[in-house]
Amino acid sequence: MHLLDNIRLALSSLWANKLRALLTMLGIIIGIGSVIAIVTVGDSLTGSITDSLQSFGVNNITVSLQKKSDSDSSGTSVRMFGPESPDEEDLITDAMIEEFRQAYPDKISAIALQQSLGSGQVQQEDTTVQVTAMGVNNDYALANDLNLMHGRFIKDDDGERQIAVVSDVFCESVFGSSGASVLGKDFELSVNNKLLKFYVVGIYEYDDDGYVSLSNSDPVTDLYLPMETAIKLSGGSSGYQSFTVVAAAGTDTSAFLTQTKNFFASFYTRNQSYTATASSMESMLEEMTSMMNTVKLAISAIAAISLLVGGIGVMNIMLVSITERTREIGTRKALGAPGIAIRMQFIIEAVVICMIGGLLGVSVGVGLGAVGANLLGYAAKPSLAAIALAVGFSMAIGVFFGYYPANKAAKLDPIEALRYE
């Protein structure tokens, strides 16, 4: 008996009991669907993060203040985000950074400092353009891989000058152009309840980093000011909650990460509330991946249970179907069907149920996964390998759970089957 005939037969017998077939498939659909959905979201997430890691640079180490936990004063992995922010004396000072620079002159390529001012508004005729204003040093551009289109970046000796480096997107909104002609033009920035005039000295290219914007409005871009200007605007507090070190090429980043961490932590041994810690994109990605894998494992366990239940459902419906078709089986045997042909017929029927369930599950999963990835702001990347594996696995379930009923059918006594009412 040929495969195609068996498949056609299976499809027609499923079609005759559409609702029953669909209900039977439900477990498979849910199982496969949830796995594909979570894998799609997970892959999109890690894919986008890997992309931005590459653009951000694998040599970057971020040093930041971390609140010491009450129970564990060495304060490693347990992070406590207290409601209060660090006092000025807790912040990392320029002196510490200078000392660090002296200690590892060969390993440091750049140290990017930033002093965030929060969101600012630029009023232009009847529209308001939102920006994220921050004071930066010259190394910031290197650490963040900024692509300067026109003019120059902020320099360390710009002092308290009222100049700014803005994005091309910003220029388009405010000046209607992002060409070199914008250089030297001024705008009024309102930040921290102050309104100040700034001159554009540089324009950088805005990089959306693979994020998908859900709204049609322009993205809020960064606006860079000289560090001292920013400190003055923020109310005079100097010092940093975090900054980025770019390790020199050829440096063992993970070893340097530990050295950096220990170096800065040593300043905080007697501080009651804060310590300094260091992390790299790599270490963050590892953390992220391991978290993702935990989630995948948990979902896979749920999916496995659902597939098991689905498989038992398929077995059950196959047993029902075989009982209903006892006379048909008897007739086939009387016409000379060998046991193996009957067995094949019903295994293929079970496989077809499971495969259709698997394909439906894949479509549901890809759909949900795409919605999930978009909600998180990433482009969906459905994994073809996972889809092929899911469909293959559901077919294997069909073979596994279809075998027993099919074998039962194959072993029916032809006379008894023909006499069955």
């Binding site: 008996m1 040929h2 005939d5 037969l9 027609s12 017998s13 005759a16 006379r327 048909e328 008897g330 007739t331 086939r332 045997k333 009387a334 016409l335 000379g336 069907a337 060998p338 046991g339 042909a341 032809p414 006379i415 023909l418």
Partner: protein, 237 residues
């Protein structure tokens, strides 16, 4: 003398062997059917006609006795060999037609060839030819639930003949049909008989039995007599 197609010696069939409700149904049947015979088996209900027919058709094995079908020893055959015998040597026609639902008359007729491994194109050609023979070609695409009883039985006869069996077995093929449709079915059997087919027919109808060439009467699992039938002329009178 010609070799018999069916050669049965001392066939005994016992149900529930070794159990308290053990029941011997056939008590040593001797039967020879020769090529070209059109034989009727008659007898009252429960006499064991269907039991005997199932053994002839290799659907069931005798408890003891010797059975050779077209030179093959059926009493010794394994399940797999039995299915080949049923597929190649025997055509079955049932009282209740037993067409496979949800599939067309044509596909039903193709079924025995499917199990014989005949290629698709040849299958369809031959199935169409057989449907033509029973005058059912116009309904080839119809499903069994769209056919009348007589039409179903004609499709079933086409299906039984499609693998060119040595033997056509019919267990009360007209039992579920009215007399006019029974006539059509009987006429098909006569045509087959005239073209040389060997047929064994079980019937409760005295008139239909008279149309056969040999009539055997079974009572309580034993043959109690054989006589010659009038042949087709009985139906024309």
């Amino acid at each position: 003398m010609q070799e018999p197609i069916i050669d049965m010696r001392g066939i005994v069939k016992t149900y529930n062997l070794g159990m308290p409700n053990e029941l011997e149904i056939l008590h040593g049947i001797d039967l020879q059917v020769y090529p070209g015979d059109f034989m009727a088996i008659v007898g009252e209900s429960g006499s064991g006609k269907s039991t005997l027919m199932n053994i002839i058709g290799a659907l069931d094995k005798p408890t003891s006795g010797q059975y050779t079908l077209d030179g093959v020893d059926v009493s010794q055959a394994k399940d797999k060999e039995l299915s080949v015998i049923r597929n190649q040597k025997i055509g079955f026609v049932f009282q209740t037609f037993n067409l496979i639902g949800r599939t067309s008359a044509l596909k039903n007729v193709e079924l025995p060839m499917l199990y014989a491994g005949v290629p698709a194109k040849q299958r369809t050609e031959r199935a169409k030819k057989l449907l033509e023979m029973v005058n059912m070609e116009a309904r080839a695409k119809h499903h069994p639930n769209e056919l009348s009883g007589g039409q179903k039985q004609r499709v079933a006869i086409a299906r039984a003949l499609v693998n060119k069996p040595a033997l056509l077995l019919a267990d009360e093929p007209t039992g579920a049909l009215d007399s006019a449709t029974s006539r059509t079915v009987m006429d098909i059997f006569h045509r087959l008989h005239e073209s040389g087919m060997t047929i064994v027919l079980i019937t409760h109808s005295q008139e239909l039995a008279e149309e056969c060439s040999r009539i055997l009467t079974l009572r309580d699992g034993r043959f109690i007599g054989e006589r010659k039938g009038a042949g087709r002329s009985a139906s024309l009178g």
